[in-house]
Amino acid sequence: MAKIIVHQNKIEDREAVIKVCPFNALEFEANDELILNAACKMCKICIRRFPEIFEWVEDVAPSFNKDEWKGVTVYIDHIEGDIHPVSFELIGKARKMADKIGHPVQCLIMGNNISDIAEQVLHYGADEVFVYDKPQLHDFRIEPYAAVFEDYINKNKPSIVLVGGTTVGRSLAPRVAARFRTGLTADCTKLDVQENTDLDQIRPAYGGNIMAHIHTPNHRPQFATVRYKIFDAPIRTDQATGKLTLCDIADDKLESKITVIEVKKKEKVKSIEDADIIVVAGRALKKEEDLKMVYDLADELGAMVATTRPLIEAGWMDARLQIGLSGRTVKPKLIITCGVSGAIQFVAGMNNSDMIISINEDPKAQIFDVAHYAIVGDIYEIIPGLIEQIKKMKKSQ
């Protein structure tokens, strides 16, 4: 394993050395020895700035045969008979990576009475779908689900495991990764695989202000979670391909200290993640009534209205309509932001959209950095004018 060694005799400017660490992890002990404390994130910034003082030492990795781990596995998330679409997006990504290293794409699906759902997966290009169909798996409970995942990994030894960043995925993946004492990288926005099967994982940190490139070089399987709408789903084929494999697991492994008392449906609202076109109401709106023009524009375009944090905090809109790191991530075909300044927390939730049009009075607004079309102007003039013009066009057609 690797570590950072401090060459104490090379330290000249003590203040400057300590300051280089953004995490406050460098400190002098009572005996004047410079140490790395528990705040160290191993970002290696100190090594880059003071290579003479800090040295990265890579010990020989415990030898293990990466070839024994084969396959890119996708966990299929489903609720009440519907497969969560992030699962298909992950099959698409898994296919590309698996082809590169000559591995199969496997899908893991667990639940109760799920043969219909499992069959659907065969239309998206997986090589083999592993099905655990047991009454104990009817509702999501952590111990039985983790036990099935463990059983699957022990029997199939996949090199890479991709899990959707859903409520279930974000609870289940860490549990299983910890069981195998292996790495899990959350909310990856880019994934690729090297020839030696090491997974390149890129994810935002610090609220999207920095990106981190992460490796899991000495452990298998390599776990990653990915949010919905990051990757593209493959097109469904009419013909089913691949193999369906029914798996069994002993009942005593499915015991749980959790009893599900009730599953309540939340009121069904179309979520902004599913919208193809989104119009976003931003902070430039002066009062709640002014939302009307945003809704009117959305109606003309067949769009959904979403918003940013200030309007949620003002209580004008439902929290489920919030885009951003503390809200939802969206990837529509078209997004029009109206009076949105473009704080990084917001941008991180929408910058993968296919087409971004932004209207803002401030020519230096941050949102213009990601917009394909940056329109400098007052939303109170542009939006009503735009609605009028669209209506005219529709009439003349």
Binding site: P22, A25, R48, V168, A205
Partner: protein
């Protein structure tokens, strides 16, 4: 009943910048605060204490200055605190962090319920809670938005799913991670600040832990490695339109027509 809350000190702002050439984080005047999601975890624990005669402990892993968040927890009503600190924990990723915390929690003594915030604002992973539960071999429920009932044997909680809510009865001991919807955290109390000013903050170091295998902690115990950090890519293909509002409205309508949205 004994409740343990896991908390963390995080940077005071997410506004970090990165030097594109050197890849160095630019952060002046490093300001720290309690992870905002942990306030909900502490509030949940303190409310349970008020209604059920429980005892609330908090634990944090970090450098010595992380004591500040324990003091803040005291001001909100926590009874005991503990700082898990050792240079052997340096460079810990999620797994090594969760493992050290699970060892620290065991060292602190008995627990019936462990509460974590939904996630931290610096790592944003939401993984540490479930991984602690795995190492302690206890059940966990993530995304809890309400606690219906708790007694000496079990707790009944509402787990928030995308389109549904699952009500689960979980035998104790167990771990839950709580969402913001669960409660409104109180402000630190001045009275408690005075009262707890001298309350000690015991430290747990590597040598106090049951598992003394250094390969399980810090960088050695971390399967993930950060290869590099870099600024998020900016979109370079953009067009800026300026001018008269009416013209802009018309031009935009034409563009939407061209893109087949009108």
């Amino acid at each position: 009943m004994k409740i343990t809350v896991c908390i963390k000190q995080v940077p005071g702002t997410a506004e970090v910048d990165i030097d594109e050439k050197t890849g160095v984080l630019k952060r002046d005047g490093i300001d720290s605060k309690m992870n905002p999601y942990d306030l909900y975890a502490i509030e949940t624990a303190v409310r349970l204490k008020e209604d059920n005669n429980a005892d609330v402990s908090v634990i944090t892993m970090g450098p010595p200055q992380a004591e500040a968040v324990i003091k803040e927890a005291y001001m909100m009503g926590a009874d005991k605190g503990c700082l898990l600190t050792d240079r052997k924990f340096a460079g810990a990723d999620v797994l090594a962090t969760a493992y050290a915390l699970s060892q620290g929690i065991t060292r602190m003594g008995q627990y019936d319920l462990i509460i974590c915030g939904k996630m931290t604002t610096d790592g944003d992973t939401a993984q540490v809670g479930p991984e602690i539960a795995e190492y302690l071999n206890i059940p966990h429920v993530a995304n809890v938005r309400k606690i219906h009932k708790i007694d000496n044997e079990s707790v009944i909680v509402e787990m928030n799913m995308a389109e549904s809510v699952e009500i689960q009865k979980v035998l104790l001991p167990c771990l839950i991670t709580v969402e913001k919807d669960i409660c409104q955290p109180r402000l630190p109390s001045f009275k408690l600040k005075m009262k707890t000013a001298d309350r000690p903050i015991p430290r747990i170091t590597f040598n106090d832990l049951e598992d003394k295998n250094v390969m399980h902690y810090g960088l050695n115990g971390s399967p993930t490695q950060v290869l590099k950090i870099f600024p998020p890519p900016a979109n370079t293909t953009n067009e800026k339109w300026e001018g008269d509002s009416e013209e802009l409205s018309n031009k935009l309508a034409d563009k939407l027509h061209e893109l087949k949205y009108v």
